[in-house]
Structures are given as structure tokens and as C-alpha cells.
Symmetry: C2
Subunit: 442 residues, 2 copies
């Protein structure tokens, strides 16, 4: 009997598996597709790999830095090959992390569960474990729109990443993180991009000043935004969209990318007796309502980010080992949007701070950083720091500009450690870096 059976070999599954095995526990991991899950195989990693190539393509064409080049071209096939190579390499790394776990490739089903035992069937065999960790992830959501099903012109993110060739134009349904990252990729490679978004702005949960700056920049680059518009029908490669005043328009593009969110993979888990409300309900220690069943990652429908899944997996592992751990509710979660420029945020937004009252908001342009100016010719950016007036404790940091993604960890640490602005000012940031901007902002 295994100590734990893990359903799903994504970031959550392999993190928990490796951690528990390291602690001497016997672990069995079931993965129906490839180790690494959505993130590694059809999510973060392939997107970032292609985005980096696209960025290099833009940079090579730019003469802003005193460099000239002729006939700059990208080779989509080579970009894809590189992406696949990197996925394989990182997947091998994940496999290595699971050296001391039993890994089964196949679809697992729970056939029996009592409070001290779980029996799982996979590929015609049965496996028994004391505990069960569910981290089956999520799938692209397909909304019930006329003409969407079996339409070869409609891609989800997975199909877009594996496209044999680029379309000349693409309409992206959904201006959230995934939609905007693909908008960046396609626009940088010369594809004509339109974005249809139901909400009044793209990236609804991000600081409004930042999303407006991004939108303006992308509009200048030729991306068309149809905000407060919903898609009511698709006919071959033509969308019928309706705005909030009830006016309909049509929109034609070679391909249509559907990025309206993801839904937890709950298939086969319905009869287990789990409390489910959109996702599997868990407490701060990743325990479900069933004593020996834990759930982490996208399947809990909390925040669908790989680093959340990883953190939850670490917490679940500690829970199973009866070791002390930070409760998930106390974890400060950063998020990054890999547009160009990048957006990185953590903590409360200006909008929330204003609603709540009692906060001070400081904001400066990124051009206050010498390195930003040196490496971002003609670009705009912003750094915003929010702290509580009474305690002076930092509560939110919002960055727009490259390379915000690599800097937001510093802000995350400051917030997690409940640092005051005085404490932050005592930190020596290296010069010249963009990271200095956080201190400069105060």
C-alpha cells in the first residue's frame, strides 16, 4: 500500500510527489498525458519560449539601439522545434525529480475509498494508497456559442501553440492573461490581431492604469480591441459580436482563438463524495471534506497559476506529514502577464485600496530607473507601491515594464514578511537595475 496516490503529474503533482518521496514516503503518480501538466506541455513554458523568439524577432528589426539588420525573418518551424526541444528537456527534469516515485501513464479512476484507504484503477491494474491527492488540473472552457463546435477555424490555446503555420489574421475571444499573451505573440510575428472582450477592459483583475497603458500601446501597434462585446455566433471564420448597447457587428479572421478561461477537471470524481463548488473545496491546508483526500492546483478553482499549484502542493505534503506549514490563505501570490512590456503584480490593487480607504498609493514612471531607460528605448512603464497608512506596511506592488516578472518576487517577499516602507528603504538595491524602482517609488 502506497502512502499516497497522486492523480495528475503537473506542477502540483510532481512537487508533492518529490517532496513526499524525499521524506521517505511511498508515492504513486498517475498522469494520463505527459508529466509536467498544462504548464510545461501546453501552457506557460511553450508560450514563453515562443514569446521570447517573437521578442528577438522584434528586437532584430529595431534600429533603436544602433543595430541594423536586413531581411529579418522568423522561421515558425524552427521556433516550434525549439519549443518542443525545451519541453522535452524540462520534462526529463520532472521525470528525474520523480525518480523515487512510481509513475504510471494512464487515466486513473478511484474505484473505492474509505477513510484509511483509496483504491485506484489504471490501465486495468488496481493500486492502493492510504491517502489521495487530486491535482487533475483544468481544461480550456468552450462556451456554448453557435457554430463553435467542430469548427476547424477555432483554436484553443493548445491548438494555437501547435499550429503548423501562422494565420494572416486572428480574432482572440477573451482578453484575459492567456488571450493577451497570444495577442502579443501573434502581433509581434506580424499577424493581424483582434481581441473581443466582454468586460470594459482587458485583464480585468490588473491595475487599471497599467491595463490602459498596455491597451494604448497595443492599439498603436495595430491590435483591434472590441471591448464590452460578446460573441453571439460563429460562422466558419466570421464572428458575430454584440456590444453592451445591443449593436451587432461581424468580424472575420483566418483563425479564432478561444481563451475565455479554464475549468477544473472533475471528470470521474463526481461520485467520490467530495464537496464541489465549481472546484473541489479545500481548507487552508488543502484538505477536502474527506479525511484522507487532498486537492491542490487548478482543480480547486482558486487561482489557476502554476506557482499557486506548487505552493499548495508543498502545503498538502506538509499536511500529510503532519508537519507545520503556512496556511494557504496567508500566502502572498504574485502574478505575471508576459505581454511586451511585461506586467507583474502582487497584493491589493489601487482600486481596492481606494474602496477600503486608509492606504497610501505611490507611483512613478519606470523611466526613473536608469537601467530601464538604457534598455527600453522609447518605452513607458509604471511602478506603484501601496501601503497601509497606519502601519506603513506594504500591501501591494504593481509593475509595468520589462523585466517586471523577475522583480515582483522582491515585492512578494516584502509583503509576505509584512515589511514597512522604512524597512524596505533599508534594503540596498543594486544599481543600475530596474529592481531599484520599488525603493525609488517610496
Amino acid at each position: 500500500m502506497y502512502f499516497v496516490a497522486i492523480m495528475g503529474g503537473g506542477p502540483a503533482g510532481y512537487t508533492a510527489g518529490a517532496e513526499l518521496a524525499k521524506n521517505g514516503k511511498s508515492v504513486i503518480v498517475f498522469e494520463k498525458e505527459e508529466l509536467g501538466g498544462t504548464c510545461l506541455n501546453v501552457g506557460c513554458i511553450p508560450t514563453k519560449t515562443l514569446l521570447y523568439s517573437a521578442k528577438q524577432f522584434c528586437n532584430a528589426q529595431s534600429e533603436k539601439y544602433g543595430i541594423k539588420a536586413e531581411n529579418v525573418a522568423f522561421d515558425w518551424d524552427k521556433m516550434q522545434q525549439r519549443k518542443d526541444k525545451i519541453i522535452r528537456k524540462l520534462r526529463a527534469g520532472v521525470k528525474q525529480q520523480l525518480t523515487n516515485c512510481m509513475v504510471i501513464k494512464g487515466e486513473a479512476t478511484v474505484v473505492e475509498r474509505t477513510d484509511d484507504k483509496v483504491v485506484i484503477a489504471c490501465n486495468g491494474e488496481q493500486y492502493t494508497a492510504e491517502k489521495l491527492l487530486i491535482c487533475t488540473g483544468s481544461s480550456n472552457f468552450v462556451p456554448p456559442i453557435d457554430g463553435i463546435e467542430n469548427n476547424p477555424n477555432v483554436w484553443d490555446s493548445t491548438a494555437a501553440l501547435q499550429a503548423k503555420e501562422l494565420p494572416q489574421s486572428i480574432a482572440i475571444i477573451g482578453g484575459g492573461v492567456i488571450g493577451m499573451e497570444f495577442a502579443t505573440l501573434f502581433a509581434e510575428l506580424g499577424v493581424e490581431v483582434s481581441v473581443v472582450e466582454f468586460m470594459p477592459n482587458i485583464l480585468p483583475n490588473i491595475d487599471e492604469q497599467i491595463t490602459n497603458l498596455l491597451k494604448e500601446k497595443y492599439q498603436k501597434q495595430g491590435i483591434h480591441f472590441y471591448l464590452q462585446n460578446k460573441v453571439i455566433a460563429i460562422n466558419e471564420n466570421t464572428l458575430t459580436i454584440e456590444n453592451n448597447e445591443g449593436t451587432t457587428t461581424t468580424l472575420t479572421a483566418d483563425k479564432i482563438l478561444l481563451s475565455v478561461g479554464r475549468r477544473p477537471n472533475l471528470n470521474g470524481l463526481e461520485n467520490l463524495g467530495l464537496k464541489i463548488n465549481k472546484g473541489i473545496e479545500v481548507d487552508d491546508f488543502m484538505r477536502t471534506n474527506l479525511p484522507n483526500v487532498y486537492a491542490v492546483g487548478d482543480v480547486t478553482n482558486k487561482i489557476m497559476l502554476a506557482h499557486v499549484a506548487t505552493q499548495q502542493a508543498e502545503i498538502a505534503a506538509k499536511s500529510m506529514l503532519n508537519e507545520p506549514t503556512i496556511p494557504f490563505g496567508e500566502c502572498v501570490i504574485p502574478s505575471v502577464v508576459y505581454t511586451n512590456p511585461e506586467i507583474a503584480t502582487v497584493g491589493i490593487t489601487e482600486q481596492t485600496a481606494n474602496q477600503l480607504g486608509g492606504y497610501i498609493i505611490k507611483s512613478i514612471p519606470m523611466s526613473f530607473s536608469g537601467r530601464f531607460v538604457a534598455e527600453n528605448e522609447g518605452e513607458n512603464g509604471v511602478c506603484k507601491v501601496i501601503f497601509e497608512e497606519k502601519t506603513q506596511i506594504i500591501k501591494g506592488v504593481h509593475l509595468f515594464g520589462n523585466v517586471s516578472s523577475e522583480i515582483i518576487a522582491t515585492a512578494t517577499m516584502a509583503i509576505q514578511q509584512k515589511m514597512t516602507i522604512e524597512q524596505l528603504k533599508q534594503i540596498v538595491f543594486p544599481h543600475p537595475t530596474v529592481s531599484e524602482i520599488i525603493k525609488e517609488c517610496l
Copy 2:
């Protein structure tokens, strides 16, 4: 009578000036050249600006990311123009920070000092202040080598940054930070580079594993290293160097770059009664032996880095205002070398940890980070975290790989906050970023 007279308008001078003026104090700043000091005008900023162009030149030639370009060329004049434009822009920013200070362009001399008054002469006028802040910076050191003086083939860093045209080959004397950054710049632009270093390795204070990795990479790229060699004579553009066994060789290059360190600018301060030992001696609150005289930055000969000068300036300002401040000795100082890949380090080195004993050293390749792999095709890197065995408190982090410079602030914060590895593990790092590597390393 001014509250304070500041000699030197570099990072230290303008930081202290702006801070004191913000606190309602009357401030006069003397700058004999340009506001912004060495860092902005002939140091960090121009170097990083040119280095970024050089990096773009390399990237545009590379086909590693699926991008092709023909006839890739750099335009040194345009690179220089951009550099000058950025310096002007940032200098305007410094000027604006000093809006509420009196700024005098000219060489200042102290003509009288008592414990409650300092009289300064500049451009034929006299100015009186209660306190004096000395931040006159440093200058390139010219060692007494035969044939070095008045030799038009010998550049210092300032001359190299302002070169009208690039040489075909350059010999760099001194493999420290400045030498290696110029080696990077010139080599990336196709100049044949040799580095002569007296010590057994380049970048003597940096983690040895990292400097070895850099050296190997640069050797493969064609840079010649003459380690444990000293220059004994220069004849026009030929160096005579002697190794530690006494064997001499000659070495010819179009230009010779001298980067063997910098010395505090003490000129005109000799008779003030200051305690001087190489630099002006100061305590942890930047006080000299004279009650109303403070000194900060390169002139103190502590650590010649702009961010050290800035931190010291903040401490000096608080000292003058009798406000509580962190003592300089308690500040954790990161440092960055803008080679390609970058090096960034903070805290104790592996070598020191091994000498002292009681430390645990963890190290992993940068390729454990998915983003690093996605954006650094074919590159190698390392992340090393050092913590005290007994307390589990993090004491050192050493990074090799892009973009370490932007990540080291996170490590600096962790060390400054005396975080344990358990506390660091609780921080959620965004995925996929290179910054995750610090947590992954544990």
C-alpha cells in the same frame, strides 16, 4: 548660512541633497563637472547602455531562437549618440531632484572650518554652511608603469566610453569588474580582446565557480587571458608583461585599457584635519573625526559602488537630522557584474563559508528554471545559496546567468531580513521566472 554644503553631485551628493531639502533644510551642492557623477556620466549608465546595444547586436546575429537576419551591423556613432542622449535625460532627472537645492557648478575648496561652520570657496565666491558632506568620488588609478603617461594608445574607462571609433584589438589591464564589463562590450562588437590580470583569476572577490564558468565561456569566444601577469612596461601599443614565474612576454594591441581600480578624490582636503587612511575614515553613521563633517561614497574607499554611495548618503542625511537610521555596517550590499551572462552576488562566498565552517552550501544549475532554459539557449548558469547550519539563516546568494542583476535584490532582502530557509520557502515566486531558482535551490 546653509544647513549643509555638499561637495560632489554624484549619486551620494544628489541623494543626500534631495533628502535633506525634502526635510526643509537649506542645501548647497558643488559639482565641478556634471551632476550625476561618475556613475551617470562616465560609469554605470553609459557602460550599460552600450552593453545593451552590444547584446542586441549579438542576439540579432544569433539564429538560436528561430530568427534569421542578414548583414547585421552596429553603428558605433549611433550607439554613442544614444548613450549621450540617455545621460542627458537622466541628468535632467537628477537636476529635477535637486530643485530645492542651490547647485553651483565649479570646483569647491574648504577655506575655513570650525565645529559649527564651514566656509567654502567656489568660482571666486564664498559660501557658509553648518555642516559639510564630502562625496567627491574617485578617479581612475594610473599605476606607475614605464611608458604609460601621455601615451595616446592608453585609455582609461572614460576615454574608452567616448572613443570616436573602435580599435581592432584591445589589451585590458585589470580583470576586475570594470575590465570584464569592457571586455564584454568590445568582444561582443568583434574587437579582439586580451585581459592581463595580476591575480590568479579574474574578478577576485566573486565566487570562484562562477568566475571560472565566465572565463571558460569568454575563452571560447576568443578572449585571451593572461592571469598572474603584471605589466612592467608599455611601449607605444606594446605591453611587456611578466608572469609569476618571472617570464616576460610582449603583447600588442591597437589600444590599451587601464582598469586597475580607482582612488578616492582627496585633492584639496588634505589640510582639513580629516583622518584619512586611503579614503576618508567614517563611522557607521558616516561621521568623520570632525564633528560637523560627513563623508560618503567612493571618497571613503569602502566599497566603490553607486548603490553603496546612495545608501551611505541616506544614512548621512538621517545622521545630520538626528533621526534613527540603520548603521552602515548592518547593510547587506549586493554587487553585479554586467558581463554576458551577468553575475550577481550578495553575502558571504563559498570560500569564506568553508573557511569559517558551520555553513551549508546548496547549488544548482540555472537550467532548473524553465524560463532560464526558454530564454538562454545553450547557456550555462549557476545559483548558489549559503546558510548557517545552526540558525538556518541565509547568508549568501551567488548567481550566474541572465538576468541575475534583477533577481539579487530578492536575495539581498532575504539576508537583510535575516530570513531562514524555511521562511524563504514560504515565499511564492512567480512561475515561470528565473527568480524561482533561489527557492528551487533549497
